[in-house]
Symmetry: C2
Subunit: 551 residues, 2 copies
């Protein structure tokens, strides 16, 4: 309760922002806001981790490095507690009753303190995220730190609101005409769903995991965090921080546990199939996501499992602005965001740009040129592209040429600080077989397809078909025609894809703002529920009514 009293105002402001959808954050995303020393001490804290054991004080049978590696080519050498699935589940189950018995306010206090302490470690987290995922530094700071914390706070606020809807207790009285009223004393108790397992992703580990983690924790479920075997450190820092707060608040720190595995010996399936598991939050490829949905029927599965995002180009009043904005969207973190556009649908007959008509070939050439120009300088390119995390992404880039004509080839970029880093510019491919191209699915990474279509109508139909089949989190539509805009909006709503129009400045379709934008919708296979809608939170608990004759 002490913790909650300290943080109550933050929760109230978060709930206000959620209702009004206004810009707000308690975690500034400008590095300057944290003072001059923070970057240095954060980097030092990260450096101390390297080559060392990451002590968590949780039950374990030894140490493991998982498959952790850095796309910047440095040696991490960090080892983590290596615990069996049975050890993890037993420890989680042991912590469960105490955490379930805590009041919603007490749980919210713990969550808010975890967020606060994580915020004070945002530079350490920035380096951890950057060096494990390949994100460029500024993005790693923002997306790994404050923006992830925003999404965690947002989900936590929803969870607190939903678990405190009913009165703590009341007397219900039903008139009975001339007879005495029937009076019942009623209470409602929140029943958390069960052990919550988070299965992390290698590219945006904290931003994708925090919403589910904080939603599960605030609704009373203990969590087991199993990071992607190639990106462990960022979520290990979360686990360390959370366990520290739990212990300080007098709870069993077993309510938050780290699970580490390797690609060769994965434990996710065994972990989630235990009947004590009530919730699974997953971000990753569609194959395992679909397996979870089909097999973990005893649990509530929230799966983020890939998306093929579309740009629909109909017409524009600002061709320069359009291609610059697109180039930035494609280049940021080498297209390794779940919100990066994958396919740009452009009418084969070309588009109107207000004063003139521009053919497909010229629009395509301008997009390619904008990418080339943005990334012409290696130092600047490195700051935007970051590094490519996975060898499979390099393979996909090589295979991309098979889909059409390469308009712009990828080139290796020399990183100024990390000579062994895997840095690549995007490959741009023109595609002339729009229908067949849907079979390509998600080509994750720095690959841009410019797809020639018969018309904007066909572009929209293909984007919708793609969303239904592969999922989609973002659409960007460029049109200066109000009727086309209205039609496109209807198609986007039908496909369940959040849509932005005519972005030509610095605001990218990749970005969604916590407390305001819904990330995804739940209406196509990309994600099970929007971040953060009530549907992401309410399945994490049940409410049980208790009644007694009053008086």
């Amino acid at each position: 309760m002490t913790l909650f009293a300290e943080h109550r105002a933050t929760l109230a402001r978060a709930l206000g922002a959620i209702d009004r959808r206004e810009y707000w954050t308690p975690y500034p995303d400008s590095p300057r806001a944290y003072g001059d020393d923070a970057p240095v001490s954060g980097e030092a804290a990260f450096q101390e981790r390297l080559g060392a054991r990451f002590e968590l004080g949780q039950p374990a049978q030894g140490w493991t490095a998982g498959d952790e590696s850095s796309p910047y080519g440095i040696d991490l050498g960090i080892t983590y507690p290596n615990a069996s699935v049975a050890t993890l589940l037993d420890a989680s189950a042991e912590a469960q009753p105490g955490w379930a018995a805590a009041s919603p306010d007490a749980r919210a206090g713990v969550c808010l303190e975890i967020l606060d302490r994580l915020s004070s470690r945002s530079f350490e987290m920035a380096h951890a995220v950057m060096l494990t995922t390949g994100q460029p530094y500024l993005m790693a700071f923002q997306t790994g730190g404050p923006h992830a914390l925003d999404r965690g706070l947002e989900a936590m606020a929803h969870g607190h609101r939903e678990t405190t809807r009913l009165p703590a207790s009341m007397v219900w009285s039903r008139p009975q005409g001339r007879r005495e009223p029937v009076a019942m004393e009623k209470t409602w108790r929140v029943r958390p769903r069960g052990i919550s397992v988070t299965l992390g992703v290698s590219t945006l580990p904290t931003w994708t995991a925090y919403p589910g983690l904080f939603a599960s924790l605030v609704t009373g479920n203990p969590v087991i965090v199993k990071p992607h075997p190639a990106t462990i450190l960022p979520l290990a820092i979360f686990v360390e921080t959370a366990r520290g707060v739990l212990a300080d608040a007098g709870f069993d720190p077993g309510a938050v546990l780290l699970a580490v595995d390797t690609t060769a010996l994965p434990i996710a399936a065994e972990l989630v199939m235990d009947p004590r598991v009530g919730i699974v939050d997953y971000t990753g490829g569609p194959a395992f996501g679909s397996w979870l949905e089909a097999n973990a029927a005893h649990a509530q599965v929230f799966a983020g499992k890939g998306s093929v995002n579309s740009v629909i180009v109909d017409s524009t009043d600002d061709l320069d602005g359009m291609v610059r904005n697109l180039a930035a969207s494609f280049a940021l973190y080498s297209g390794q965001m779940c919100t990066t556009p994958r396919n740009v649908f452009i009418p084969r007959a070309g588009i109107s740009t207000g004063d003139q008509h521009v053919g497909f070939g010229e629009v395509a050439r301008r997009i390619a040129a904008a990418i080339e120009s943005l990334l012409a300088d290696d130092d600047r390119a490195s700051d935007i592209l970051g590094a490519v995390k996975s060898a499979a992404t390099i393979d996909r880039m090589a295979a991309a040429a098979a889909h059409g004509d390469v308009l712009l080839a990828s080139r290796p970029v020399k990183h100024p600080m990390y000579p062994a880093a895997t840095v690549r510019t995007p490959v741009v491919v023109a595609v002339d077989t729009p229908e067949a191209h849907l079979d390509a699915g998600e080509v994750f990474g720095p690959v841009v397809f410019l797809v020639a279509t018969d018309s904007t109508e066909q572009s929209l139909a293909l984007a919708a078909a793609s969303a239904a089949r592969h999922g989609a989190l973002t659409w960007l539509v460029h049109t200066s025609d109000d009727a086309v805009a209205a039609a496109a909006e209807d198609v986007a709503v039908g496909a369940g894809v959040p849509v932005a129009f005519n972005l030509t400045g610095g605001h990218l379709v990749n970005h969604s703002a916590a407390f305001s934008d819904l990330h995804g919708s739940g209406a196509n296979p990309a994600v099970s529920a929007a971040l953060t809608a009530a549907a992401f939170v309410v399945p994490r608990f049940h409410v049980v009514g208790v009644r007694r004759p009053a008086g």
Copy 2:
């Protein structure tokens, strides 16, 4: 919008009651509140239905009586439009865009008007429910009419609230230091999930169907109502009323359609497996409910599929009150409610009643005697028992003796008005094999098992095991020991079963009050979600964000 303006105050009061959980209803459950003429004209309206075609003006290929029959032994002879599955789905899909495009307020206005018109037909509905389901008259009036309307309004209010959480539109502005703020104009659009199919039950057709129907309608989904083939009329009256309101409000009445089938040629599986179906609301046996959950993966399935409710007798200060209250719970509608207690767990060593100790045999005898006394007079018994709907129930009664010793045999009761009615008193069976008895599952109907256990602790453990395996909607605990009460409450919460304590007066555990009590919890197999929690409503739609540069 006109309809909404008329009914806005009702919605506001409903939302207030939901938050405060106070007693409230706009639909009085005292027949006297409706004036002297209402019962007579309601009965006349029912009589006019008999032997006639039930015209609905919906597309159909002919007429069918389904398998409708009356347990009161009268001939109904009503025929309904007989439409193919394809006809129904096509008509529903045609009505879909217009209904989805209506505003939440417009949809709420239509729903409130449907509820209002149904309320004015509550006596017609009472006869329809009574004569098709076998409910006694007063219960048919209350449960078929006002109490069902309460639950429909409650679900509708939740749906309206959840679909109007986000602002209609707003401008989001993000400060950028010395640069101009980034400003985006944002809207959020509700995307209804898809065609909603309601699969009705033969015993409480309106009370169980209205929550899902009104929740789906208010969130923008068209509905196809397929009643149980043996109990069609009550939901046909709903469909007729709803279609009338839709037409009057300028909507395609195809947003509400009736589907009729027979036990020999069921259409439910074909209907729900169409990919256009987004929601299924089912009440009925566990076999088809589990099939739906396993197979209709493209849809959101809400299944109410049976429950084995427990009474745990530990001790009591009022043995007379306890056995009278239990007798009424068992007798009401011959145990054909999903909330009727099935098993009474009593310690083999007996219980304390304050001043004395009473053995198991004596407690059992007292319960049997209370049932016998309550139902001694045939006329009074008929008013409580109603009639037995299904031949399968009669078979289960005959088979009940195999589970133990019959303490009270069932006897046929002569109904004063309906000589051909199937009226039976409950059979009471003492069971001495508590663990093995869990295999019995739900023995639906007028069958009471008094189960001897080693201790209250074992009683609670068995009740919890039964709830986890077969589902449970209600527990009733009798204890005068505060420590036992606290322990029992914890076990009930863990099992996800709403629990009442020490009911000894006229309030029965069978009853749950709309706006106040949650019916079920969703935490055991009895129901997918509580009536009405947010989890029952929010999966019926998604929200899609739309953003444009502002200014």
